[in-house]
Symmetry: C2
């Protein structure tokens, strides 16, 4: 089978590529061709599978058609600019996060002749906006408080409608905040949730800008890749017309994150977290979801790789630090 | 004040125009200029208010800019193709119902310099799709089962985001099915809800294609105009970031509609309803909302003109038939 990954150079895209190359298959089918696209050149994975690397702008109306001309069987659509950037650069956000998706689905539709690929779209819990219940259920409405969340919600609607019309076989999965996010911070205001784990484990100080009672919704990068693989292989008929759903995750407070870090890595590591309250970040985070009920995703077979936040830290140490950290 | 009505030649647009011309004001402010746009020429109302008639295609990228160049204070955006047509003509539906709205809000934003008009958008209960609860609440999610409902839901999202960013002061109101709809039937599958009242009152037979236990959500044309006027004048600050909401209405079964018709107009009129079951229409209607809880709209001052379905019939006789019907 031929797989196309849009946004392949991003953190989740790289991890998904690694997983697919390592397995050599998606579900029961061998991967015979892999196309990796991003606005910056994706790294060439080490594999015998034929890989095509494409550097192109997802917001360009001419980007999508050649990417889908080879009729990929499964398309993972991870291309987006993040919330902070979409908020600061209004037009750019709509061009990439909304228009780009429309160019893609219209290019798929234009092929016709029964071509109906699986399209896995990464949506976000940013489609929800405060005030909301303590636990957000599967039927709670979308009131995004950012342009990013608006764009994600709109793309969910489009993918559901194009699926209903039979132009593609789409699913949108709302990822929790990915924790521990490896590498350098991006422009997301949620960065500290990962920084306070990742940096101390690497021997560096990290700043905690909010109080320890802040509660948020997390999943490991390993879980995110697992969700994508499941979404790329499962039978979507069970979803009916409702093609978008919130993924399972873990609701913990910052205090619980820190307690887990102490259990896994010790007091010395935790001592590297410096508390410097930032009212702006505190304000932004106060409008974010804290907890979810994800019965629908669980019933459809989506599962996390972790049972506790300690597991999330251990997964980071295993997958990113070669099993070692700076005590 | 200057008012622009987009889609002014449609049924609701005509009734809104009549009301504004009759009152000469919107809220506490005199109307000094009225611009009426539609794809077919709107009728020139009889009034001393300066009226500009514009015939243009809402889906044309160049339509919106000249319409908003005069900086209308209030814009009523009623332009749309109906659900049946949007479903049959996929591209046309997206061009008019989605792209047209984006052209409009981007043209408003492009003016800048503090221009921030009130934008009243007519959305639809088609943003909801079965299965849903017996009564749909204010926080129920959007799972449209038509392209029309998808387009309306997307426009709601856009208007909320553009309002949040301060580019305009928008509100989206989800109208119930308008009953009794005057004039000739349009392409809507919901036509029979009005046909079974309007045609018998005019001395004609009408076909009832569904069973009498079908329940649906109605409001009179007079109520619809009242909602629009209220949305055009109320302080939207009370809505916060949640700029879209379901309007009040009346939930009745077809049997209750017919009983009301008999009370208002007698057995002879009711005898003109012929029962000819249509499985296609029955199937379509089975996926439609039946009842709502509209506490939010009520708390924001939206009210219907009718208390009973008998009132809805009387409003039709008063407003459309000069107080008389064919007994």
């Amino acid at each position: 089978m031929h797989i196309l990954i849009l946004g392949a150079a991003g953190m989740v895209g790289r991890k998904l590529t690694e997983k697919l190359v390592r397995d050599g298959r998606l579900g029961s089918r061998d991967i015979t061709r892999l196309t990796l696209q991003d606005v910056v050149a994706p790294a060439k994975p080490s594999t015998t599978i034929p890989v095509e690397l494409v550097t192109s702008d997802f917001a360009d109306p001419h980007t999508a058609a050649p990417l889908v001309a080879g009729k990929p069987d499964v398309i993972f659509h991870l291309a987006a600019i993040v919330s902070g950037e979409a908020e600061a650069e209004f037009d750019k956000g709509y061009r990439i996060n909304l228009d780009g998706t429309r160019f893609l689905i219209d290019a798929i539709r234009a092929i016709g002749g029964g071509y109906r690929p699986r399209l896995v779209f990464t949506s976000s819990i940013a489609v929800f906006g405060a005030p909301f219940p303590e636990k957000i259920g599967d039927e709670f409405f979308h009131t995004p408080l950012t342009s990013y969340g608006t764009q994600k919600s709109i793309c969910e609607m489009l993918i559901a409608d194009y699926s209903r019309k039979g132009f593609l076989d789409g699913i949108g999965i709302r990822l929790p905040t990915i924790c521990v996010r490896p590498g350098a911070p991006n422009k997301a205001a949620s960065g500290f949730f990962s920084n306070i784990i990742r940096e101390p484990l690497a021997g560096h100080e990290a700043v905690l800008p909010v109080s320890e009672d802040v509660r948020h919704w997390h999943a490991s990068p390993r879980s995110a890749v697992g969700f994508l693989v499941h979404a790329g292989t499962m039978d979507l008929a069970a979803m009916g017309a409702r093609r978008n759903l919130s993924m399972p995750g873990m609701s913990v407070t910052v205090g619980e994150q820190i307690a887990a870090l102490e259990r896994v890595a010790g007091k010395g590591v935790v001592a590297r977290i410096k508390r410097v309250t930032d009212p702006v970040i505190t304000g932004i985070v106060s409008g974010w979801p804290r907890d979810f009920v994800t019965d629908r995703a669980l019933s459809l077979g989506f599962t996390t790789a972790e049972k506790t936040f300690d597991d999330i830290i251990r997964i980071h140490i295993e997958d990113e630090l070669g099993g070692k950290f700076v005590a």
